[in-house]
């Protein structure tokens, strides 16, 4: 930062270089076997892979330069007392032994069996390896002789599979206590470095395992005029690797643990139809829909429930509890607004007309942590999309809708609206413009006077919002110029107009109910999200 910036001026010039180098080695050895024995076909693979991921990082920053001219190119010019350097290196390794056999009988009956043993450096010696078998069978029913008479059925396949997979996507060295750079102390009138324990060791860490059973059907009717597939799955993840809060009197806030199991069950259905097929006019529709149910089945014997925090200043935000969806939003339910004529004799401290009225779920006359309740979850009950594609002569018209139902999201913009850093902060317009006043004694939004008079109950039924929506995702109209008007080198040409995100139907207050900048699909938090872009495109495609 040059001296014309505020921080640069204070430091008399600051230069920072950060370098990172990630490498990934893979050694693979496999034996392949493939043979035909008349009606039998067998493919088999046996092999072993070794993978190593290595990261090196270097960091240096220097302050107090004689001139801005050298940028970061001559850090030796800085004041040697104001130089900070750091570096680190870490690696993890994965070794796998794999065996797989594919068997095909008459091209009608298909069987696959796989077994793999994976070893990961992220687990302790006794838990390093996990064994993950899987198998699948398929039956092409329409190849059977008895199906020959059913001419309407052009394709029919039944599938079933079962398998276990492992997950080791955690940080390195979590199963031992390692020591890293601690905070700086001030001793002898100077800053001195320190070391401190980096994590609370968990020597028991092991592979997370997912066992999935899947039944499916693929079908085609009337020469694929209608085709589609349907799948039912039952997926149980056990020994989940989760960073679980631990009592902070240990000096640590959390520890990585294998806990309990969750069950995802769902049904997926997709359908392709060719509604009209004539030489001038074509209309195709694709529709897919999925239903999902997520439930925490078991948290083991020692834990009843786990409450976890959100990012930034969100505070405690979600709960993991048997029988409920994973990371269900957990906070205070808003009943309404305190009105002028209400009875304040037993009101919680700090309330006045226009304050938020929280539900006293346990009826003890106070609003405490005990009153928190489930406010929704991050797993949509239903997700669907439909696309229509219509051709008429040289025109093509395509539009698609998508939607989700039964999903919630924690809206941090709402938290900033109700619990602002200070009164100058931006607020979302809808609650603020419709706020409670003596003249507008609404029961919907509070007065925004003394917003912190009941503390920071940031996760509540205002801030956890229904994020269901229906959206017109794309509309596109194009026209292919007929060959006759094209000449020379131009093989084809079309002009088109396209609009994306034309409208969204939702109850969500905020730019976009579909965002999830929190990067965890199972814990939806609208935090510093970029607003949704509505785009209009006009274009010409030329082919030469």
């Amino acid at each position: 930062m040059g001296t014309e910036t505020q921080f640069g001026a204070a430091a008399n010039g600051e230069a920072t270089i950060q370098q990172g180098n990630q490498s990934n080695y893979l050694i693979e050895g496999t034996l392949n076997f493939s043979e035909n024995y008349g009606i039998h076909t067998i493919d088999a693979v046996a092999g072993m892979t070794f993978q190593r991921f290595l990261t090196d990082r270097n960091f240096m920053t220097a302050n107090d330069f004689p001139s801005d001219a050298t940028f970061t190119y001559n850090m030796g010019l800085a004041n040697p007392e104001l130089v900070e350097i750091n570096s680190d290196r870490f690696s993890n390794e994965l070794v796998s032994y794999i065996g797989r056999v594919n068997y095909n009988l008459l091209d009608k009956y298909l069987v696959t069996a796989t077994v793999r043993a994976d070893g990961s450096s992220r687990f302790g010696e006794d838990n390093r390896f996990g064994i993950f078998p899987s198998g699948a069978i398929g039956w092409r029913v329409n190849e059977e002789p008895f199906m020959e008479s059913a001419e309407a059925i052009s394709n029919l396949k039944l599938r079933a599979s079962w398998g276990k997979t492992g997950n080791q996507e955690i940080g390195n060295l979590q199963f031992i206590t390692s020591f890293g750079t601690g905070p700086n102390a001030v001793l002898g009138n100077q800053i001195v470095s320190s070391i401190d324990p980096s994590n609370l060791a968990n020597p028991e860490l092991k592979w997370e395992t997912t066992e999935q059973i899947d039944f499916g059907i693929d079908f085609g009717l009337w020469d694929e005029r209608i085709s589609g597939s349907a799948d039912y799955f039952h997926k149980e993840t056990s020994d989940m690797l989760v960073s679980i809060p631990v009592p902070s009197s240990t000096g640590f806030n959390s520890r990585l643990q294998n806990i309990g199991s969750i069950l995802n069950t769902g049904f997926e259905f997709s359908l392709d139809t060719r509604n009209v097929t004539t030489s001038d006019f074509n209309w195709r529709t694709n529709f897919n829909i999925s239903f999902l149910d997520n439930e925490v089945q078991d948290l083991g014997e020692t834990v009843n429930e786990i409450v976890i925090g959100g990012p930034g200043q969100v505070g405690q935000a979600a709960i993991i509890r048997e029988g409920d969806p994973l990371r269900s939003f957990y906070g205070y339910e808003v009943e309404g607004i305190w009105q002028t004529d209400d009875d304040y004799s037993n009101a919680p401290a700090g309330v006045e007309p226009g304050s938020i009225k929280y539900r006293d779920t346990n009826g003890d006359g106070q609003i405490t942590g005990e009153d928190r309740t489930l406010l929704g979850d991050s797993f949509p009950d239903v997700t669907w999309a439909i696309t229509n594609n219509i051709n008429y002569k040289n025109f093509n018209f395509r539009f698609s809708f998508e939607g989700v139902e039964g999903v919630s999201m924690l809206n941090v913009n709402m938290i900033d609206t109700f619990f602002p850093v200070n009164f100058r902060r931006n607020k979302l317009a809808e609650p603020y413009l419709n706020r409670w006043t003596p003249e507008n004694p609404t029961n919907e939004w509070p007065s925004f006077v003394n917003p912190l008079s009941q503390g920071q109950k940031t996760v509540n039924s205002y801030t956890v919002q229904d994020a269901s929506y229906i959206r017109l995702r794309t509309v596109r109209l194009s026209y292919n110029l007929p060959r006759s008007v094209l000449g020379g080198a131009i093989r084809n040409a079309s002009i088109y107009g396209m609009a994306e995100n034309l409208f969204t139907i939702d109850d969500y207050i905020g730019p976009d109910p579909a965002v999830n900048p929190n990067a965890n699909a199972n814990f939806r938090i609208d935090w510093n999200a970029a607003p949704l872009v509505r785009t209009f495109t006009l274009g010409v495609n030329l082919g030469f």
Binding site: A9, S121, D196, S248, G251, F419, V421, N450
Partner: protein, 489 residues
């Protein structure tokens, strides 16, 4: 048949090679390698490892930089001395000023709860491992005493904020433990400080300035006795420090709070700060566009910051000062702004405390120590304890007058005080003038039974007796079902 033979041959090859693959590989390939992190098997067996971890305990117990300023404000803003508007921290401070804080108020968890427990963890790590480490016996005993000092200090702070808390004296053991009985925690704190004293060096023999010494342990014991109303012990311990003669009052009050005066005869223990990190509190105390204090010549430079948040001294507190009080030198009544204009801060609950200034400050950081125990407090502690034991007495009056003399105020006399209560009120006022912005006021008001009253008087009508303890933070409650919340929250 021929095909079957071929198949058998191939199968045989597979069976032959499969073990070979296993042999070629080696399970050591997934033995984790530790590069930049320090390996626990050797780090804690060396003196360097022990000392490095002890440094981390010091670091967590040293409230400087962001944490130091936040913890100071959270405590002082509950009192009748100063308040805040604007800036990012106002979200928290408004709750402290108005007594609307709760278990969800986020700094309780990160600063008041987690940080002392990290200091305790680091101290416990030292204590658990030092016996196996190659450290000379003499140093070993000293390091043990230092670790116990920091652990006791951290539990003392936790106690003054939350009341009794879980007592963890080793890194081993159950994760979930309940709050210790009050008597057990208090006796632990007292014993730890006392047992540390013999192996701690005298203040003039410390290895490095800022490491624990006998007087620091005695100083904290004095405060501990005072705040647990063990008056005889408090007055005795204060007398021990006075008799040892290591400390005396600095002649000019204001110099202690500036960078060039921070090494002085009065600081017994402090939250130490050095550039480029430092004490960042004064940035919120500078008024808008502040350039210069005409009274002292203290001048803001372009290398410094001036925050949006504004720490403002109440008129009602400012007006209790005698206008001749030397200590007003560090309180800003009017200032010259960047345009060279004079701006008055009078009569608007807007005076500013300019403690902890460093003329070489860089950005947020002023390299100025903030005292946590000064010799002046030892004198006033003894004065207070003797008054509680015996009512107004000449020795208490003399001790108070030592402080007043330094501030160039007239003496008070024994005849001015009809009873214990009147002298107690005087001591509270004296402490207010002496220790403003030094994180003393909350605990003083609580000890003297004025905490709730002062809040009510200045309009924080939600204040009740239960507010004398802070709530156990919600994340701590949620992570440990054995914890019981303080009543009222």
């Amino acid at each position: 048949m021929e095909k079957l033979m071929k198949f058998a041959k191939k199968l045989f090859l597979v069976i032959l090679f499969a073990p070979l693959l296993v042999l070629l590989s080696c399970e050591n390939m997934v033995e984790p390698e530790v590069y930049s992190q320090l390996d626990p098997t050797n780090v804690m067996s060396s003196e360097k490892g022990i000392k490095g971890t002890l440094n981390a305990a010091y670091a967590e117990a040293n409230h400087n930089q962001w944490n130091g300023h936040s913890i100071l404000n959270m405590n002082e803003m509950t009192t009748d001395t100063y308040w805040d508007t604007g800036g990012g921290e106002n979200r928290i401070l408004i709750q402290m000023i108005n007594f609307t804080w709760g278990p969800d108020t986020d700094w309780f968890n990160s600063l008041l709860w987690n940080q002392p427990y990290r200091a305790i963890r680091n101290a416990n790590t030292v204590l658990d491992n030092i016996d196996q480490a190659t450290v000379s016996d003499e140093l070993k005993n000293q390091y043990i005493a230092e670790a116990r000092f920091i652990r006791a200090l951290s539990y003392y702070r936790l106690y003054t904020w939350f009341g009794p808390v879980p007592l963890r004296t080793s890194t081993e053991g159950e994760l979930e433990i309940p709050r210790a009985p009050e008597s057990e925690l208090l006796s632990f704190i007292e014993t730890e400080f006392q047992e540390a004293i013999p192996d701690l060096p005298e203040v003039n023999q410390v290895e490095e300035y800022g490491r624990a010494h006998k007087s620091a342990a005695r100083g904290y014991l004095t405060l501990f006795y005072l705040n647990t109303k063990q008056w005889q012990d408090a007055s005795d311990m204060a007398q021990t420090i006075i008799d040892n003669g290591h400390f005396q009052l600095v002649e000019d009050y204001s110099t202690m709070f500036h960078k060039d005066g921070e090494l002085n005869s009065e600081f017994i223990w402090a939250n130490y700060a050095e550039l480029p990190a430092g004490n960042i509190w004064i940035n919120g105390s500078f008024p808008p566009g502040f350039r210069r204090d005409p009274q002292t010549g203290l001048t803001w430079t372009n290398s410094m910051n001036n925050w949006a948040t504004q720490y403002r001294i109440y008129d009602s507190f400012y007006n209790t000062f005698d206008q001749n009080d030397e200590r007003l030198v560090l309180i800003l009544e009017e200032y010259e702004n960047q345009d060279g204009e004079m701006v008055s801060l009078r009569d608007n609950d807007d005076y500013r405390a300019l403690k902890y200034f460093d003329p070489n400050a860089s950005a947020n950081n002023h390299g100025t120590d903030r005292p946590t125990i000064r010799y002046a407090e030892i004198l006033l502690a003894r004065a207070e304890a003797l008054n509680e034991l015996n009512g107004p007495n000449q020795e208490s009056i003399d001790l108070i007058n030592e402080i007043r003399d330094r501030a160039e105020l007239n003496d008070v006399s024994l005849a001015d005080f009809a009873n214990k209560e009147e002298l107690r009120d005087q001591i509270l006022a004296e402490r207010g003038w002496e220790f403003y912005a030094e994180r003393k006021r909350r605990i003083d008001l609580i000890r003297m039974g004025k905490f709730v009253e002062q809040a009510q008087n200045r309009g924080a009508t939600t204040a009740q007796d239960f507010h004398r303890r802070y709530p156990i933070p919600q994340p701590a409650m949620d992570a440990n079902p054995q914890l019981e919340q303080n009543p009222g929250y």
